[in-house]
Symmetry: C2
Subunit: 135 residues, 2 copies
DNA sequence: GACAAATGATACTAATATGGTATCATTATA
DNA sequence: TATAATGATACCATATTAGTATCATTTGTC
């Protein structure tokens, strides 16, 4: 059981790499040189981040990507939301039956509580905090 | 993104149903009558629970399954471990490279902390607590 | 203006995980 | 000894994850 997929992981690392004081354009070429991810896969990921307004881009020669907002405002929970869908730990598996079982509803409440805590934790991890705390 | 799969969910509900004061044998036939799960799938699940020592079984006519230990000692985290593998939120995706990136290691530490809290939460949910708290 | 270097869009493919079925062997009880 | 149960195992269908391939579009530089 894992919480983050490879897509989310790659996205996070690329973003940490791009989180420089200057926030200048970074090309895919530069990123894969540093991070060794599969080129087309990383491209797809970055394009998704662009579409989801986490990155901005410039096309054409000397183009590339840059953060659309300060790294302190990009959170792990955002990336999970983008690449793995919203966090719904309590998703009711019998949707049409409106939770026929009292026990199940009780379970849902408990899972919701856990979810709230996990989300709070994930929200506390930003690209900025990952970049800054290295020492 | 979801935390528990249908297998885990079915297992949990079957166990809650079986958690009766008497702890007598319950057959698959009885379970599916009550719970409406696909018969062969539930059979597979129960056999797994048997192999993993959560259930005991009796073969032959009038056979069935029963809890191998008190419902208060069967935890959601156990079932997730059985059906979805151990919880390893911080699984290092570059296993052979021994975490070359400082940032990644930092991330792992943060994920480990979250993991510890999630596990603690999941450990607090037992079959017994689900059965008892209905009212 | 032509070329080259970059992203945009989109469709396809491979591998793995999930959610099941199907079948036959074995055992215990009435 | 028939039957009702589980044990073991192999198989199948679908969804998700991980990744590839290709062509179109844009833009800086000569």
């Amino acid at each position: 059981m894992k919480l983050i997929t490879r897509e989310t992981d790659y996205a996070m690392r690329a973003l940490v790499y791009m989180a420089r004081p200057k926030n200048s354009l970074v090309s895919v070429a530069e990123l894969i040189k540093e991070l060794k991810f599969p080129r087309p896969f990383l491209r797809k990921i970055l394009q998704t981040l662009k579409r989801r307004r986490v990155l901005k881009s410039h096309k054409g020669k000397r183009g590339g990507f840059l953060l659309a907002r300060p790294p302190e405002k990009i959170f792990l929970v955002d990336l999970i939301g983008i690449f793995q869908g919203p966090i719904e730990l309590d998703e009711c598996l019998f949707k049409k039956k409106l939770c026929p079982d009292v026990n199940v509803c009780l379970l849902r409440k408990k899972l919701q509580k856990i979810e709230a805590e996990v989300v709070a934790q994930l929200r506390s991890i930003s690209i900025g905090s990952l970049r800054d705390e290295r020492n």
